[in-house]
Symmetry: C2
Subunit: 255 residues, 2 copies
DNA sequence: ACTTTTATAATTGTTGTACAATTCCGTTGC
DNA sequence: GCAACGGAATTGTACAACAATTATAAAAGT
């Protein structure tokens, strides 16, 4: 094991007095500021990374890269060594991923990669309908189409068939995430985040198939148009079809 | 600090060989059985309690009893002493409660009771509409009204005004929880669980007001009837009114 | 040969302790 | 009054140890 300080993850830890200077804020009121600040960015996450947060991000990446097979256990001895952290930190990080749906915890057996069955695919799609459907309702109500969604479609449209698949994956993710963000609901966003993770893991486990760029762009343009028309039932139906399409594809790819 | 063994929470830990005998299962296939079993009851929670689970339950109770004020910090030194556990265990338990919405974690400041503002009340209500609305859709579709919901209404109906308030609170909770359960979606249930916690905490923080039993029974009977008619839009509207009523009451009680 | 028992090893869950980093809080100085 | 300083309190992390459970493999029984 490395010496004490080499393991530390803290890097940009700003000292208190410096912060005080930067913010130009009197001593007395500083406490309230930090509280408020942290309460707001509890989800936007702009504070200096905790070791647990850094680790859970790292493990999340490994999981979503498809490094582990469904049903595989994440042995904490191995994990701790690979990320050079303590077991407690790993367990905290893993627990966070459990709440995200990327891991399951089995008492006395450890953390294991979920093995999604057809039921899960249906369940996730249904859940997505409830969550994203609410966001769609809000957008239809306000009439404000998020710029990021339009940008994502542009990316799809300008992508060649030969272009990197990850670009398309990211565009699709950005599109739907912007729909959720537009709802302005922190809880909607939080809940969708877990769904998004699960869906991404599903795609990875199921060989990450994706439609051809042109088709994909067309499909999402249709969704945008359904939002523009500001008719909730129709918009909802359009999105529903989109979700169900994915569900069908996923179910067909079931081993 | 108490001696080692006095702190242990393990109590009903069944020995492996005994289990094997009870289940009458050959050695070779046992592994698969436990895995499946745990995968299914990951949410129903029928395994022997972990120290972390026991602790988080205990702390959840304390929080929902209104013992702590909004904005109050749960100092881990105090908590560990009061529950005679290690700091690691407390932190794991607290993190679980963070994911449930009953606590917030502020880096380097600890775990704090959330202080819900009007925005949160609106957000929670909206979220509830999305989640419970989906369950309502499913019930309308299948036409199966959960027995527990009917039982809960009976309890409300037979309650006197003088009866214990907690009975009514429980009945209301059971009613809505059974609606969710009837959807048969594990994810819907998991997400509703956090909402339920937040709502319960809100009610506690806002003095736990509740309607008069008769009125409450009537209101829920109306909901049941809307489900019986099997018209989604109307049922959804009925439930929406119910949720909005609560929202209004909560907003009025804002300090 | 197949299952059951037994013993042993590997892994998880929990605790205690130590320490670095950060935040809190009272004091001093201006 | 407000800013800067310094010690005390608190959190975050690491390391080590051990109890409890599970996994694995060898021995025994049928």
């Amino acid at each position: 094991m490395l010496p004490h300080c080499a393991c530390r993850v803290y890097d940009g830890g700003v000292e208190q007095k410096v912060v005080r200077k930067i913010l130009r804020v009197p001593m007395s009121s500083r406490r309230d500021i930090t509280v408020e600040q942290h309460e707001t960015d509890a989800l936007s996450g702009s504070h200096t990374l905790t070791a647990v947060e850094a680790l859970s991000s790292a493990v999340r990446k490994r999981i979503l890269s498809g490094e582990f097979r469904p049903g595989e256990f994440l042995r904490d001895a191995k994990m701790c060594e690979e990320h050079s952290t303590s077991r407690h930190t790993f367990r905290a990080a893993a627990q966070a991923l459990v709440n995200e749906g990327l891991l399951r915890q089995i008492p006395n057996r450890g953390f294991v990669l979920p093995d999604f069955g057809p039921d899960d695919i249906v369940d996730i799609t249904r859940m997505r309908g409830a969550i994203e459907g609410e966001a769609v309702r809000m957008i239809v109500f306000t009439g404000l189409i998020p710029q990021q969604a339009l940008d994502a479609v542009k990316v799809m449209r300008s992508s060649k068939l030969s272009s990197d698949k990850s670009t398309l994956v990211a565009a699709d993710r950005d599109f739907h995430r912007s729909i959720i963000d537009a709802s302005g609901s922190v809880r909607l966003r939080r809940m969708y985040a877990t769904l998004e993770s699960e869906i991404e893991l599903l795609l990875v486990q199921r060989q990450d198939f994706y439609s051809e760029p042109g088709e994909m762009a067309e499909e999402h343009e249709r969704l945008i148009n359904s939002l523009r028309n500001r008719h909730y039932e129709k918009a909802r139906a359009a999105f529903q079809e989109h979700w169900t399409d994915l569900q069908t594809k996923l179910l067909q790819h079931t081993p």
